[in-house]
């Protein structure tokens, strides 16, 4: 970006972009500044004490492990559900495609707060290994949350490859269905699957609504607990949470860039 290029900009464009930059950057900077403060009057400016507090907190490691494992479980279930289905629909049942697309879109119009109310009512009284653990109830809900992102990413991936030719080639060489799926199809939609997985990771690591109403202790719940009880360590945790989201989203953008021209994506952890 040369100076000459900047000089060609309209003055009003400068103002709008500068205002936006201030609005977006100041809260991030404020969070960073808070994370370096200490809870004592007259303490020197900057301390890494809060980061130490986080790293030595057993609950932090416990909850972040739960959230991370939940994300992995959600990704595995979603991929297992969607990859064979979309593959099959592209190969044999093209007329079913709009139906699947519609089903995958429904979670967009059902807010998580409404979804959890329904889930709690529907599955009350089911065995404890499902209703009482995050690995059952929460994972089941998060797979639904991931539906639109999984579907649109994978569907785009399948559209960009020639499913028929790949399948025929594989079968004429004597491969079984499972071999075709795992050794031929999956490597060809790897980037789409990766993009969908990063997105799901970002959603699950930040999801608060369902976990809070269903009373499971995930990482965002721990963050809210610290937020309520002690101000400055919450700054360090918030920054960490931002970093997780940013890392997932930027990995997604990088993966998408390699494939060229991916649509923007909007998740729902709010």
């Amino acid at each position: 970006m040369s100076l000459r290029a900047l000089r060609r900009m309209a003055p009003s464009a400068y103002i709008w972009l500068a205002l936006a930059a201030v609005y977006f950057v100041v809260p991030l900077f404020a969070t960073f500044e808070f994370s370096l403060k200490e809870n004592k009057a007259g303490a020197p400016c900057c301390t890494l004490h809060n980061y130490g507090w986080v790293l030595h907190n057993g609950d932090f490691w416990h909850t972040i492990k739960i959230s991370f494992l939940l994300a992995i479980e959600t990704i595995v279930i979603s991929l297992a559900l969607f990859v064979p289905t979309i593959y099959w629909v592209h190969l044999k049942l093209p007329r079913l495609r709009p139906v699947i697309a519609f089903f995958a879109l429904v979670p967009f119009v059902v807010p998580p707060i409404v979804m959890v109310v329904g889930l709690l009512r529907t599955f009350r009284g089911t065995p404890n290994w499902f209703y009482g653990t995050p690995w059952g109830f929460l994972a089941a809900a998060y797979v639904i949350l991931a539906f639109p992102y999984m579907y649109f990413s994978l569907d785009a991936g399948f559209r960009s490859i020639d499913v028929h030719t790949l399948t025929e080639a594989s079968q004429s060489l004597g491969a079984k269905w499972t071999t075709t799926l795992f050794k031929v199809i999956l490597p060809n939609i790897r980037t789409a699957a990766l993009a969908a997985s990063f997105l799901t990771l970002a959603i699950v690591m930040g999801e608060f609504t369902i976990a809070n109403l269903a009373a499971f202790h995930t990482f965002p719940i721990f963050l809210q607990y610290v937020n309520e009880s002690q101000g400055f360590p919450a700054g360090a945790l918030t920054l960490l949470s931002f970093l997780i989201t940013w890392a997932a989203m930027l990995s997604l953008l990088l993966v998408g860039r390699k494939r060229g021209g991916r649509g923007a994506v909007i998740t729902g952890a709010r």
Partner: protein
């Protein structure tokens, strides 16, 4: 990147090229092919449609599962009526402001004269920031405009006391300011392709015919963009309306519908879960109305996009 694909949101159009006819599959093979999609449909029914149905049904049942309109009727009394009013107001304000300001920022980044790198930086950042939200976002605003926030302290040192001038972060205004942090990026992402649709030739043609800048916008720019703008604003409305965690992290006492619903499960007021289901049903109705408005507007917007 959002600016290359322009494929924001949703497309359910048919395949671009005709599918290769499937010689091998007769009628009997087809009925077998159905079976392979069963796990997907079973999952969707069990964890999406059954719960949604449970909400709709539960809203019209009393404690003993008999049919009743009492819960839905209660929604028209306070505090629930008030909760809907506040929720709709917060969503409208942040959707309209987010829509207008987001459009301004997006246009500033896309218009001629602005280096292209600015645009790609803005869309990349928006892609990330639209995914912000929840408790971390609430904390970021506490650190900024809370009682000890850096902007609050900075203004106080400069002789301006925010609190004395009636500003409170833990309030409706505070929640609205925080919501803008994900509303603006969403608007930028959604409206950028529409701004690209404003053809340069139109502007030159208008100028050649002697139109001033404001006349171009009044008679060409805004009418062409209007359906996309309205559609995007409705999307923003739904986005804010469904939000729970950000408001919860800032002000648990604010009377919003999601917070009312949440109180039923996190507090100790589980005497009538059907009321929570009725509240959820009401949210569903508001969102459904918004979606019904969205579809024809989207159709009109598509007319100009060719």
């Amino acid at each position: 990147m959002a600016d290359q694909g322009g494929r924001v949101g949703i497309s359910t159009e048919a395949l671009p090229k005709p599918l290769r006819p499937d010689h091998g599959s007769g009628r009997r093979r087809l009925s077998f092919a159905w079976v392979a999609t069963l796990p997907f449909f079973a999952y969707t029914i069990a964890f999406l449609f059954l719960p949604a149905g449970a909400v709709l049904l539960g809203a019209f049942q009393d404690k003993h599962d008999n049919a009743t309109l009492a819960n839905v009727r209660l929604l028209f009394h306070n505090p629930y009526l008030d909760a809907y009013k506040t929720s709709i107001e917060v969503s409208l304000v942040t959707a309209l402001l987010g829509g207008i300001l987001g459009f301004m920022v997006a246009y500033a980044a896309i218009r001629e004269g602005t280096p292209r790198v600015v645009r790609s930086m803005l869309t990349t950042f928006s892609g990330v920031a639209a995914n912000f939200g929840g408790i971390p976002l609430a904390f970021a605003w506490i650190a900024t405009l809370g009682p000890l926030g850096i902007v609050t302290v900075w203004l106080r040192n400069a002789g301006y006391n925010l609190t004395q001038h009636g500003f409170q972060l833990f309030s409706k205004t505070g929640v609205e300011i925080a919501y803008m942090y994900f509303q603006l990026p969403l608007m930028i992402l959604v409206i950028a392709p529409a701004i690209d649709g404003l053809k340069r030739e139109w502007r030159e043609a208008a100028a050649n015919l002697g139109a001033k800048q404001w006349q171009f916008w009044r008679y060409v720019g805004i009418p062409v963009l209007m359906p996309s703008l309205l559609g995007a604003i409705i999307l923003l409305f739904g986005n804010a309306f469904a939000a729970y965690a950000t408001a919860y992290g800032l002000d648990q006492g604010l009377n919003l519908v999601p917070i009312q619903i949440g109180d039923y499960y996190t507090g100790n007021v589980l005497d009538n879960p059907h009321l929570a289901q009725a509240l959820a049903f009401g949210m569903f109705v508001v969102l459904a109305v918004m979606m019904l408005l969205y579809v024809p507007l989207q159709r009109r917007a598509a007319r100009w996009a060719k």
